[in-house]
Symmetry: C2
Subunit: 221 residues, 2 copies
C-alpha cells in the first residue's frame, strides 16, 4: 500500500575526526542565522519551517531534529540572537539619573551602535516588538522589559520627582518614543498607533512633548 523510500545521508559533509561528535558543531548556528534572516525578511508569523530550511539548504525535518518544534526554534533565535545583542545596550547606560540629557544621549548612542552592529535589528524590532500583533511583544516585555526600558524609565521617573523632567510624560512611553523618533522614523506610524491604544495620553500630545523634549533639551513643562 505505502511505497517505501530510500533516502540517506548525502554528499557527506566533512567532519573533524578525533573525538565523538556530540552534535554537528557548525550547522546549528547556521540554522539560527537562516531562521533570523527569514524572520527579518518576511516576519515571524509568515515564516514557515520550509522557508527556513530552504534558506539554510537543509530539510525541514532537520530543524525538528535540532530544535524540537517551531516554537522552540523561535525561542532559540530570541535567546541566542536577539537577546545577546540587546543585552549589550544595558551596560552602556550611566548610573547617574539626575543627568537626564546625558542619559538620553547615552541611550541613543547605545541604540545607534547596536543597530550598526546588527543591521537586522530595527526591522525585527519594529515588526515583532513595537507593532501590534508582533510575535515578540510578550517575550521582550518579560525578558528585556525589566532590564532596559524599565531601567531607563525608572531613571526618567526619578528625574521627574526631582523636578528636572516634565511630570506629564509617561517615562515608559518616553523611552519608546525616543527610539521611534530617532532611529525608526519610517515606522513611526504603527508605533504611534500602538502607543495611542496603550496609553491614556494622546499620541500627538506624546509626540509633541517628546519632540519638544528633544528640541529644547530638558527641564519642567
Amino acid at each position: 500500500m505505502v511505497t517505501k523510500r530510500a533516502p540517506g545521508r548525502p554528499p557527506a559533509r566533512p567532519r573533524t575526526p578525533g573525538r565523538p561528535v556530540a552534535a554537528s558543531p557548525d550547522l546549528r548556528p547556521r540554522l539560527l542565522d537562516a531562521a533570523l534572516a527569514c524572520y527579518v525578511r518576511d516576519g515571524i508569523a509568515a515564516t514557515s519551517l520550509r522557508a527556513i530550511a530552504r534558506e539554510a539548504g537543509v530539510t525541514p525535518a532537520l530543524l525538528h531534529y535540532y530544535f524540537g518544534d517551531a516554537q522552540q526554534l523561535r525561542e532559540a533565535v530570541v535567546e541566542e540572537r536577539l537577546l545577546p545583542a540587546v543585552d549589550t545596550l544595558r551596560e552602556s547606560l550611566p548610573v547617574d539619573a539626575s543627568d537626564v540629557a546625558g542619559l538620553i544621549a547615552a541611550f541613543v548612542r547605545g541604540v545607534a551602535g547596536l543597530v550598526e552592529r546588527h543591521p537586522w535589528l530595527p526591522a525585527l524590532w519594529v515588526r515583532e516588538v513595537l507593532c501590534e500583533g508582533g510575535q515578540l511583544r510578550d517575550v521582550l516585555l518579560e525578558r528585556v522589559g525589566p532590564q532596559l526600558p524599565v531601567l531607563l524609565a525608572q531613571r526618567f521617573a526619578q528625574a521627574q520627582r526631582e523636578g528636572v523632567l516634565n511630570p506629564d510624560l509617561d517615562p515608559r512611553l518616553t523611552v519608546v518614543s525616543l527610539i521611534g523618533l530617532t532611529l525608526f522614523p519610517a515606522a513611526s506610524a504603527p508605533i504611534w498607533r500602538s502607543l495611542f491604544q496603550a496609553s491614556d495620553i494622546g499620541a500627538e500630545t506624546l509626540r509633541a512633548h517628546t519632540i519638544a523634549l528633544l528640541d529644547r533639551g530638558l527641564g519642567p513643562g
Copy 2:
C-alpha cells in the same frame, strides 16, 4: 513569499435542484463506505486520510469538511456502519437461558447471517476487535460489550449456576471462543494469543474446553 494558488470547484458534479442543500446528500455515505473499505483492506491504523480520499475520488480536505478530524471519521464509521450491523444480532437471541444449546445455536446462526450480509465484518472484527492492539477494542467493549457478548455471557453464567454448563469456563471468553472457532478459524492463532494474555486460564485449556463443549454438547465437567 508564498505563491498563491488558484483552485476551484471542478467538473461540477450534478446536484438535484429544488430544496436548499443542507449537506451533499449522497457523498457522505460514499465517504463512509470508502473509509470502511480501507479499514477492512489495510487496517485502521495503517489507513491514512489520503488513502480514504483516494478511494472515494475526493480530496483529503473534504473528509475534514464532513467529519472534522480523523478520529471523528473513525467514530462515524463505527457508529453508522459497524454498530448498526452488529446490533441486528442482539435481537436474534432467545431469552431462555436454560437452553444453552439453543442459545449457542442461535448465536452462531446469527453471526453467520451477519457475516453473510456484511462480508467485510470478519476481517475488521478479527483485526480491530479480537487481535491485540486493535483500534476498536475499547469502543466495542463499551458499546456492544454491554449488549451482545455480555448478554450472552450472562446467560452462560446463569446456566453455570443452574448446573447445566461446566463452571470452569469463563463465560465471556467462551463467547469469543465460539466466534473464533466457528467463523474465523484462520484467525484463531491471534485470538488464542490474546486470550492467553488476558485470562488466567491457559489458551490451550480454554480451546480444549470450548471444543469439547461444542463436541459433546453441554453439561458439567
